[in-house]
């Protein structure tokens, strides 16, 4: 029987790189010059300063090890998500870089994005119907907060008689500096109002109101990260956003099942919906899947993708909401 010849999987000479994160320690067993005096001290009921130093060193090493362990656990969570950044729960010593900045890098200057400000707070006003809380926007808001100094306020319009308390606290607790509006880069004003369609107003003079959650989400996402420059990819993102809002959120059970199948096949070849990069398409689809309540009964690829999304840590506002 002819056999296949297989090339060696690895090169013949493997050079193991020793990790650099290990510490070199001086030999603690080596006899020390002052050993005699220390023994003497112990006899006198005092702790040897060398032992003390040793203990301190050990504690330090243990702490670093715990930190490392936590970091590795965080990494393990995101190991299935290719370009994912670290989980928010990773200990602060490691994530000194803000999580968002690893995912959304690119433009960050609001002046170039929104035009020069005239000394006033750039306030984004969103009118939303309390019957349909805009989960996507809440998620984008929390990401915006990580990037910019955002003044978030929630109001109830007089056209609405009462709203559930979780809608009033959906933008998180009051910022400690909220008494001084000038100290913020961006305003995010959410008004619960009896509107047929979600509405965003930014500059009354130079911009018409933007209608629909999908369009507002596009606007907000562009403040975080540039849209793909590849037209095909940009269109793909847009098309997924539309699918999410028109078919997942508003469609019938049948339509929803179709979309879930489409999601499944798209996620079979790519880690994220629009290729290798996490994008607005993922945010929108994730929120709509969550909102439609079908998160638990999704095909495997979608399940995996949902996990990956959750590991990003951006979606806690939306999840909090549905509990």
């Amino acid at each position: 029987m002819p056999m296949y010849q297989v090339k060696p999987i690895s090169g013949s000479h493997i050079k193991t790189d020793l990790p650099t994160c290990m510490y070199k320690l001086p030999n603690i067993h080596a006899p020390q010059g002052n050993s005699y005096t220390s023994e003497h001290a112990i006899q006198n009921g005092e702790v040897d300063p060398a032992v003390k130093a040793l203990e301190a060193r050990q504690e330090e090493i243990m702490k670093k090890l715990y930190d490392l362990k936590a970091a590795v656990e965080g990494l393990a969570k995101t190991v299935t998500t290719p370009d994912a950044d670290l989980d928010l729960t990773v200990s602060s010593s490691l994530s000194s870089q803000s999580p968002s900045s690893t995912t959304f890098n690119g433009i960050s200057d609001l002046d170039t994005l929104l035009g020069k400000d005239l000394g006033a707070l750039r306030d984004i006003v969103i009118n939303a119907n309390p019957a349909q809380p805009p989960l996507t926007l809440l998620v984008l808001h929390s990401v915006l907060c990580q990037r910019y100094r955002v003044l978030s306020t929630v109001h109830v319009h007089s056209s609405v008689t009462s709203v559930p308390p979780q809608l009033l606290s959906c933008l998180g607790p009051r910022h400690a500096d909220s008494y001084a509006r000038q100290m913020f880069q961006l305003g995010f004003t959410l008004i619960w109002k009896d509107v047929p369609k979600l509405q965003m107003k930014f500059s009354v003079q130079n911009m018409c109101p933007i209608e629909g959650e999908a369009n507002v989400a596009r606007f907000l996402f562009k403040l975080l990260s540039p849209y793909p420059s590849d037209p095909a990819l940009a269109t793909l993102v847009d098309s997924w956003v539309d699918t999410a809002f028109f078919q997942l959120a508003e469609g019938s059970a049948k339509e929803r099942a179709t979309v879930l199948r489409a999601l499944n096949s798209a996620l079979g070849s790519n880690p994220w919906l629009a290729g290798p990069e996490f994008s607005l398409a993922d945010i929108a689809c994730y929120c709509c899947v969550l909102q439609s309540g079908s998160a638990s009964s999704t095909p495997t690829n979608v399940q995996r993708w949902i996990k990956s999304c959750e590991n990003l840590g951006h979606f806690s506002p939306a999840k909090l909401f549905l509990q």
């Binding site: 400000d117 005239l118 000394g119 006033a120 707070l121 306030d123 006003v125 009118n127 306020t153 109001h155 109830v156 319009h157 007089s158 056209s159 008689t161 008494y179 001084a180 509006r181 000038q182 004003t189 008004i191 109002k193 107003k201 500059s203 009354v204 003079q205 130079n206």
Partner: protein, 531 residues
Amino acid sequence: MTKEEVQGATEEEQQAQSKKGLKKQQKEAEKAAKKAEKQAKLAAEQQSTEEDDFAKDRYGVSAMVQSQQKLDRVLVRVQDLTPENADQLIWLRARVHTSRAKGKQCFLVLRQQQFNVQALVAVGDRASKQMVKFAANITKESIVDVEALVRKVEQKIESCSQQDVELHIERIFVISQAEPRLPLQLEDAVRPDGEGEEEGRATVNQDTKLDNRVIDLRTTTSQAIFRLQSGVCQLFRDTLTKKGFVEIQTPKIISAASEGGANVFTVSYFKTSAYLAQSPQLYKQMCICADFDKVFCVGPVFRAEDSNTHRHLTEFVGLDIEMAFSYHYHEVIDSITDTMVQIFKGLRDNFQTEIQTVNKQYPSEPFKFLEPTLRLEYTEALAMLHEAGVEMGDEDDLSTPNEKLLGRLVKEKYDTDFYVLDKYPLAVRPFYTMPDPNNPKYSNSYDMFMRGEEILSGAQRVHDAQMLTDRAIHHQIDLEKIKAYIDSFRYGAPPHGGGGIGLERVCMLYLGLHNVRQTSMFPRDPKRLTP
């Protein structure tokens, strides 16, 4: 002409005149005779009719009520008349709103405040021809006592507030008669502006209305306005009492002008003169220094401003708030704005009929607000105005047109008719305003706006005697005149702030009316002291 000639001429004239006079007298005598004849005839007729009037004790002008007797008769309210009362015989006291005789029957509309019901007197076994005639001749606005049978109607009566029932009158007595000529007709007074011109119907101008305020106040619109105003007061008191505020009364005759010296009425006070209080501010602040913590007062405020605008009165009702706060004057803003929001909510939820009634005559968009109230900063407002093409300096005060424009811009973006503008330039505020700790150009002061018009002006007050003295010197104010004011802060004063609202303005702007005189029951302005 000589003197004699003149005399002769006048004599002739006199003669001619006397001739004419004689003729006239003759004619008049004839007329009188005719009239007497007519009257006699009429009396005879009346007598003859009275004789065969079987219902003559069922109507008439009743003797003046001098509390001769205490009847146990229950009078039903018009607003309580529903199909449930059908076929009941009831007594009712109301005004004759309109009456219309048609052959053998007479339709009356009986009114009680904003409620009215249709009533009918028809010749039958209960009412005679004469009774119908009597009912038809009752002057409008007279007060009558009526005994009637409540009847359900097949077709809704569109013109009345009680649409499902009408009254079949069995007895009718006039309690108080109105003069036949009314200075203004109620239906003219409630006609919406513009509609009268189109149909050639009369409308009543404001001065006529105010001159005859008693009649004007009877209209459904006025009834609704002042019921709503009472609601504002009630809600203001309730909300603040719930928040732990104490209502105080302050003197209105004061020895020194509180804010500067201008715009203050001087009154003679025995051998010296005194002033009418422009605001209870000093006394509010003294109460804070006296550890009342949170106070409010409702009372008249006098301003000797000779400005004849739609929103100025020389006497109005001030709703004033002052409170001590812990660390930041925004605690005061939050308290005041929440009070306002509670008032707006109470009006929206409990005074919808009144609002609709006023809207019928003065259409306006419903009042919109946000909870919690929107707070913008002065620099932001300037930027918004700048964007809209208004050029003004950083430390200039807002002019009235700019206020209006800003109101429109804010409404367009935030869709609210009520907002707070914070951090005014220090230069445009009174000397007792606390400067901003971070920027000496600005101050811890705020204005509140309704439909783009200022309704409240307030600030954190300086509660330190030394700083107050410095600020007063900076404003070139005579320290002697405000000594008592400064002295009240020498013995320890908590940080505090507050503001004052004009009741009439709040009502006017809430309802979207265009003149503050409409919401003042008996308005006082530079040109009006009566009624």
